[in-house]
């Protein structure tokens, strides 16, 4: 396959950035999208040009490090698939492909296609955990969990923290990410003691980090490579409402 790539190049946070066109020939349909970028980079290096910086690590769709806007879609055209698992057989010979970084206020560009997603870690640090210092745990079977709850908690816990939801959202909201963690932990008995302080802490951190508010556009769930459903945000809202009502009698909130 022969392709034309138009790639966002930005030398650093201060640079304005621009789209640059690169023809790439002899692309095999069996290549992954990132392997196609590897091929481009090898050629750029040998031609004395600077290779395109992009984030990636596991290349098997689980670490959440890769993230590219491909023709305007977060992670590209295939549903339920991260950019690293997207293969070139999804594209046509002769196609022009636009490749851009995640764009959101909370994710500033570092270089080319690489963005800073530390804001997600801050949301977790503000409450996305169950306090259980090592050694303090009771016997694992002390608290049974109904299978339906355990399965639903798992569905939310499958979030890989890639940030596609934020990139796709017209408001740059990180609410699907935040809600996925809130949902997981609030479905489990272990998560109950901190249930309401958690949701307030995480939503506050979300807002402080510069993410926008949720207006139920639903773009987030459409691009989520792990299929986190939109109703997790509903669960978050319910917990948040209860938490604000309880605020007066919840110490530490």
């Amino acid at each position: 396959m022969n392709l034309t790539l138009r790639i966002w190049r930005q030398s650093g946070p201060q640079d304005k950035g621009r789209m640059v066109t690169y023809p790439v020939d002899d692309v095999s349909p069996d290549m992954s999208f990132l392997e196609m970028l590897d091929v481009l980079n090898e050629r750029l290096i040998l031609a004395g040009e600077e290779p395109v910086a992009f984030d990636h690590d596991c290349r098997e769709g689980i670490c959440g490090m890769c993230g590219l806007m491909i023709n305007g879609d977060a992670h590209g055209p295939q549903r339920g698939t991260t950019a690293c698992q997207l293969h070139m057989r999804q594209f046509k010979d002769g196609e022009t492909i636009d490749i851009e970084p995640w764009r959101a206020r909370a994710f500033p560009v570092i270089k080319d296609l690489v963005v800073n997603r530390n804001a997600f870690d801050k949301i977790i640090a503000a409450g996305g955990y169950i306090t259980a210092p090592t050694g303090s745990a009771p016997e694992a079977h002390a608290a049974p969990v109904a299978k339906a709850n355990a399965d639903a908690a798992f569905e939310s816990a499958a979030c890989i923290g890639c940030g596609a939801c934020v990139a796709a959202c017209p408001n740059g909201s990180g609410m699907l990410f935040t809600a996925a963690k809130v949902t997981q932990l609030s479905l489990l008995p272990q998560g109950q003691p901190e249930r309401y302080t958690r949701v307030i802490g995480m939503v506050d951190a979300h807002d402080e980090a510069g993410f926008g508010g949720c207006t139920n556009a639903g773009e987030c769930t459409a691009v989520c490579p792990k299929g986190i459903p939109l109703n997790t945000i509903g669960r978050l809202n319910r917990d948040y409402l209860t938490a604000t009502a309880k605020r007066g009698d919840t110490p530490g909130s």
Partner: protein, 645 residues
Amino acid sequence: MELFTEGEPLADPKAPDGPVEKRWETRRFEAKLVNPANRRKMTVIVVGTGLAGGSAAATLAEQGYRVRSYCYQDSPRRAHSIAAQGGINAAKNYRNDGDSVHRLFYDTVKGGDFRSRESNVHRLAEVSVNIIDQCVAQGVPFAREYGGLLDTRSFGGAQVQRTFYARGQTGQQLLLGAYQALERQIGLGNVEMHTRHEMLELVVVDGHARGIVVRDMVTGEISTEMADAVVLASGGYGNVFYLSTNAKGCNVTASWRAHRKGAYFANPCYTQIHPTCIPVSGDHQSKLTLMSESLRNDGRVWVPQHQDDDRAPRDIPEDERDYYLERIYPSFGNLVPRDIASRAAKNVCDEGRGVGPTKLGVYLDFADAIDRLGRKAIEAKYGNLFEMYERITGEDPYQVPMRIYPAVHYTMGGLWVDYDLQSTIPGLFVIGEANFSDHGANRLGASALMQGLADGYFVLPTTIAHYLASGPREKVDASHPAAVQARREVEDRIARLLAVDGDRTVDSFHRELGQIMWEHCGMERSEAGLRKAIDEIRALREQFWQRVRVPGDGEGLNQSLEKAGRVADFFELAELMCVDALHREESCGGHFRAEHQTPDGEAQRDDDRFAYVAAWEYTGTGEPAVLHKEDLTFEYVHPTQRSYK
């Protein structure tokens, strides 16, 4: 020139004696403690945020130490433990099927082909039960039964159901548990987290590890960080083969820099080649993807009986297929351990019976299972894996058998540590896959997660206190001559890599190195092949330093520069792996020497000559390393020939 010399034998000074089931308790009691008020004054550096590093950093901070944590990824949650699929072993015996701490201990020593320490493995089995409790308390969503209790399954040929799991994403869920505990400590100000930082040198002051030199991968800034102790949790070195199931960024640099500073490297040749990975599709291949071992519970492995049979798999009649694992190993069949399944696949491909475009593949066929259980049942069990397979290969495994081939997956070797997980440099501790300690010559399925969390949550936090309690050491800062020297070494090396300005890319060298290693130090090794590999590695290393092209500069994000530094270290490690494989004139676990096999082609150990840990001391690049032997004794599990027939 000699490839190595032999030095003094090595003994583990911390190993307690007495009955094996009392040793950990004894050590815990004898270990010194640090008073809580003093913990606040002590800083521990932890490099790596996978299961071992993440859990250690969180636990040390909970105990009151000041912790500095480093990872090369943009978030501690992305460390490669996240990709582990299958599960985590624990001797809970919830199934009442005969499991016990002693049985897990026994299975792990045997599975490691009698090349691990009994004391360490027993401790691992003891601690395994606490790990499950800890993870459940953190909200890890393990699979559960309808009654609400935890589900377990059998894994990797174990005859008991001791593997806890969270679908095919157990590593992810366990890591997120550790990550959240770590983030909590970051939020509380007890851990200073440095993402996108890479450790490039160890600082050793008066024989003690006192700090590291790191590069900020975003700004390019080099800095020296000092501490009271340093913990390496930087993972394995499978990427020396270029193609492996490791993440692209996984590297040996932190371990190798410590090795160059005096930490011995143990059993580097012990490599685990996982039998069920998606085959290479072309020269562009950048990594290999694992298909969970659990697939072998229902899939049947076969190749055509005749060479060069190019018919589509469904057109090959039953009597012209060779279900070779079932044929050779009738009692374990498709569930033989990883090393055995991998070598068998290589053998049938070497015979010209491999399948797929490259002929380096075997079928993993679910047709019988679909007939027996129905498509729905198979979908429920393996749906996500089948989808992943189809995304990558474009083939539908419900219709056509999967094609699989072995790939490098895990490295049992690593920095040598004593029972306290301390390396030969006092104050330098090594945990998780980065150390060599618990898996011997072959790791069993679902044991990596167990070991990473055992080290990080329970073992290290106890043993490191013993070391710290022997302080406080003299205050030193980044202006100490040893620290200044370490920093200069880092700067010089970066300058050297940038100055070559040659005509080949880093990746082209890495690929070529990987091919040499796969060919000669992979699933089957021979004296002639290893000698050839050593010559080729040396020649290629020289080429690397003359012809590599690293564009850009050291300021700011430069992914080529990052890769170049890692590949330079892989070159040195590769040579040591081949020397280790060459000197070990026996076959054991993942190390198979063509000259040492039983008449029916199984690994032939030589316990009289090789029942030891080979710990290598660095003497200089291309200089003969010094071999220190730590004898292994077996009081509880009597070494036998592993048999899965």
